[in-house]
Each structure stands twice: as C-alpha cells, then as structure tokens.
Symmetry: C2
Subunit: 333 residues, 2 copies
C-alpha cells in the first residue's frame, strides 16, 4: 500500500510530516510505503540528516515544489498550480500510483482538487468532511464539519450513508447509530431542513436512525454518527476546540494559584485532536484525510494510519455500494 | 416597582422561587415588591413558615392555581389555561399591575403568552431569547438562543438592534460590538443567510458591527452581542452547558484518582449559569426573563434582579426607539 503525504502542508512543514511518516511506518504493517510530496532537495536533506532512523526503502519522494497557501482561493489555486503538493498528491491517487492522500494544507484546496481529479462517487452531490468529536464514552463522527452549507435533506441523507460506512469500516461499529442534530427530540421540531431530513432518514433502508440529537446529548455519546449542515457543524467543531482550551486554561490558573498537582494534559487527553488523526473527506472516489495546519507529528502519523485502514477496509467500495441504496433502479449503475 | 414571579415554574417550585424572591428583595432597593403568582394557599403556608425571614410588606400573592407543564403544546396551553401562573403573570403585566414577569416554567408557553398578551414591539417580526455565554473576558449576549428558526436577514438585523440595547442598558456597554456568527471571517463566507445578513448589518446605522465571528472566537470575547439563527444558537448553548459539565467531570475523576485538592466549583464559577440570572425575551412590549427549569434560588434571584434593572433602565422604551431606525419613514410610528 502506498500513501501520499503532503510535505508542504502543515504550518511547520515538512518536519511534522516527516516525523509523522516515521511514526506511521513504525506502527503500520511492512507493506506501507509513504510517498512524501514536496520539494525533493529539501526532503532529501532532511531524510539524510535522519540517517538510519528513516527507513528509506519505505519512503519515496515525489517532487512538487509549489505550495498552496491557506489564504488562496481554492479553485483558482488548484487550476493555476499543477506543481503544488496538493494537486500532485491527488493526481497520483487518480493515476493509481498511490492509494490515499493525507494533507495538513489548505482544506479548501484539498476539497477542490479532490472534486476535480477524483470526482464524487455516483449518488453523492456534495462530499463531506467528517470529524471525530470526543464524547464521554468515546467519539462521535460528525458530518458535515464545514464543507457544505445551505444543504438539502438529500445531502444530509447522503452524509448519513457516508458516516454509516466510515463508522463500520474505521470505527468497527457493526450497526452505527445515526443521529440528526436538532433543537428538540420530536420529529416535528427544528427548522425546515431538520423536519424534512428526519422524515427522509426515517425511511432510509439499512440505517439505524435514532432520531434527533440535541446539543446537550452529543457529549453523552447519543449517536455514533451525527448528521448536520456544514454551517452548524463547523461552528460546533471550532467552538468545542476553543471551549476545551478555555476550560483547561481556567484549570491551569487554579492549579497555579493553589499549587495543586494535576496532570492537566493527562486528564484531558481525550480532548486532544492529535489522538484522532485527521478528518476524512467522504464521498469522493478515493481516500483523502485532512489534518489541522498546526498538527504535531502524532496527528500526522495517526492520519496516515486512518488512511491506511480506509484503504485496507475497502471503504470507498463500500461507500459506493451504500449510496446505490437511494438511487432509483432505472438510474442505478 | 413590582415584579411578578412565577411560583409554579421551576422543577422544584415553589421553593427556589420563594428563596429567590428573598434574595432579590435583600439585594434590590426598597421600592421592589415581588408578586408571587401561584397557589395562594400553598404560598401562604410557605411564607408563614418562614416567619420574619420573609418581608411580607414587599411580597404579594396573586392566586393562579394552574400549572402549564413542560411537555404541553404552548399555544394550546396558553389558550386553555387562563388561570395558569404563566398566563396570569403576563396578563398582570399587560394590565399594568406589574412591570415585569420572571418564570422558570415552559419557555414555549412564556413566549406564546408574551406574544399574545404583550405583543411584539413595532418593527419586530420575531421576539428573540437572549442568553449570556461565559467567555474568557466576561460574557457575550447570544441571540437568538432557540425561539426562531429559518430566520431571514431582517430578523437577524432586528436581533442585533435588540441585543445592542440590552448590552447598553443591562451590561453597561456604551457601544456594544455586534458580531455575526459565521464559519469564516470574510463577508462572502458562510451560508446565504450569513452573506445577506452581513451586508444588511454593515449598512445598519448606529450599530458597531465587527463582522463575522467564528465558533472559535466566541470564547475569546470577540463581540458583546452575537447574532445568529435560533437553530445554531440553541445547539451551541446546549452544547456549551454539556461540554462544561463533561470537562469538569473529567477533572473530578482526575482529582479523585490522584487526591489532588482543587476547588472545582470555584475554578469554574464563571461557567455557572446561576450567576447570569436568566434569559431575557427581547422584542415584546414588556419585560420578560426566562430561567432554567432546574434553577437554584440564586439563579431566580438574579433573574429578578435582571428584570428590575431592565425596568429601571427603561429598556423597552429604548428598544422601541432603536427599532424605529430601520422602519421606512412613511410607516414610522
């Protein structure tokens, strides 16, 4: 298995990427090769410096000297920068040279290049970004986390199908509980989108739809897959990260004041996104995992591990089959 | 000043209400009288039991034996239960017998009765519920917190006007910074509602509109008033409360395990909603403050205090004047 890793992605590239690659290679089976996509000369120097710590037989370099910056318009950047690490890595997957692509670069550019080169799977109007929210009993996959706004009910139904397969293949849950993010329990509660989506999900074959999930129920692990429009999903995700930081900061102030000895990092490890290994872009014909720009090596390494499990489990094949459930027979592939 | 307090509102009514009334009477000026609205016989017994602890010259009872339950349809309940504490308390305000009404009962029923008896102010399509979110530098008023979904840009503009006055009159901020909850900083980011609302708020005279505020910026106190559709506002509010509980629970586990001495309640006092005193219903022709059903006495007492300050500051008068800014001249009152 070959996984391309954007070596010009993160804020401190290529160091977290190189260290993350080493972590992934150490943790995964011997059949994994990591293809670092970035500036060949720079990467050769960095790898030489590492000496025997870098298993060169399992690391390749694909030269792609151009970097798409976070502020650039994704569509324009993807069109104008064919030698960028993002476009190069995703084209490698399209051409069958690699099985997956992992990047801590511009989320918008990774999305745009994935849509252009890999294409959405049949039955997917809008690929979605999934993200794992830590809960008191583990983690819930929320999607969409910000790729799509002004969604229609059929988009949320597709997100449910995508999340169902991800939870089966990557989280090991045989019958994932699908919840719809809403502001009340009853089917008639919420906005127009919620009411119509509730009806559609209730009638969707093969999904264990557990109904509406309110904001306060997420953290209790009320469902394995939480479906929502990308607007509220993105607000929630960013708010969660910042609230966790805020509360931990309150605690640090208290421990500084009182001198109490608390292993803050240890107590709150469950909130550390580095443990979760990136956010999958679901619904495209390929395996794409997106990481935070500020990812440490562990997060990158875990993201490569997630990509490897997605490839091994044949997630994309399963997603394509799952989506065919909602396609009318005459138009089924 | 006379403030009606629903004595059949909270989950453990009337005890938190009676104790809350005593706290408010002790903390407010002598001109405050609290009118307890509930079962006269029960209230007389409770007050007699308190003896001199209850300043009877400043406590009245209005008999209203019927209670609207949380699960009832608000519109139906308000129509069918004229002797309920909620309908009675709000009618007292309409008739000028009291200046404000505070309830920890059914939010939907308080909303419905307020709309029917007090009516929205001219220029308000949909009254909104404001709620104070604790931040690292104080608190931000978020509205709407769940009363309105499928909002249009003009509704969010009205929320901004309502929040502007509340922040001036109740939070003491001369020029409140108004933020629009969104998933990106730039004006063109977000869903259709956000893009159109951004343009409308940018052109709204007299508002200090600071632009889009992302989920991660809320907690840093990026604005004094955060405007959003009630769907995302409600999700965010409930999520915040539950995340705070979750993280404090993680901490308790850690302190139990290690025996570290941490004043958990003290360190996280800023997150205790009882400190904030209820959520104002803004945009009706009257002063209404809604409390959590699980409110302890302190929360009820603080809510009565908030209502008293709203009356004293002539908030409703200011709101009516502020809303006239967006009314075309020919239709202005």
């Amino acid at each position: 298995m070959r996984i391309a890793l954007d070596a010009l992605g993160s804020d401190r590239a290529p160091h977290p990427e190189i260290e993350g690659a080493l972590l992934a290679l150490a943790g995964e089976a011997d059949d994994l090769t990591v293809v670092l996509v970035g500036d060949r000369e720079q990467l050769e120097i960095e790898l030489d410096r590492l000496g025997e710590a870098a298993p060169r037989s399992r690391i390749e370099i694909m030269h792609a000297p151009d970097r798409i910056l976070p502020g650039e318009s994704p569509a324009t950047a993807v069109r104008r920068r064919p030698d960028s690490s993002i476009v190069t890595g995703i084209r490698l997957q399209k051409e069958g040279e690699v099985d997956a692509f992992v990047s801590a670069g511009s989320t918008g550019a990774v999305m745009a290049a994935s849509l252009i080169f890999l294409r959405p799977l049949p039955g997917v109007d809008r690929p979605a970004i999934g993200t794992l929210l830590p809960t008191s009993v583990g983690a819930t996959l929320m999607l969409d986390a910000g790729a799509n706004v002004d969604c229609k009910p059929r988009h949320l139904q597709q997100f449910a199908r995508l999340g169902h397969i991800y939870a089966q293949d990557l989280m090991g849950i045989a019958s994932p509980r699908i919840g719809l993010l809403n502001i009340g329990e009853e089917p008639e509660k919420g906005d127009e989108l919620s009411v119509e989506t509730h009806a559609l999900l209730s009638a969707s074959a093969g999904l264990d739809f557990v109904g509406n999930v309110e904001g306060r129920e997420i953290i209790r692990g009320a469902c394995d897959v939480l479906v929502c429009d990308g607007f509220v999903g993105n607000v929630l995700l960013k708010f969660y990260e910042s609230v966790a930081e805020f509360i931990i900061d309150l605690l640090r102030k208290e421990t500084d004041r009182t001198g109490a000895e608390i292993d803050v990092a240890g107590a709150f490890r469950v909130l550390d996104y580095a443990e979760y290994g990136g956010a999958p872009l679901l619904g495209v014909n390929g395996v794409i995992v997106i990481c935070h720009g500020a990812s440490p090596p562990k997060a990158i390494g875990n993201a490569v591990g997630v990509a490897a499990r997605a490839v091994r489990s044949r997630m994309v094949h399963h997603v394509a089959r799952e989506l065919a459930r909602d396609v009318p027979p005459e138009s089924a592939p």
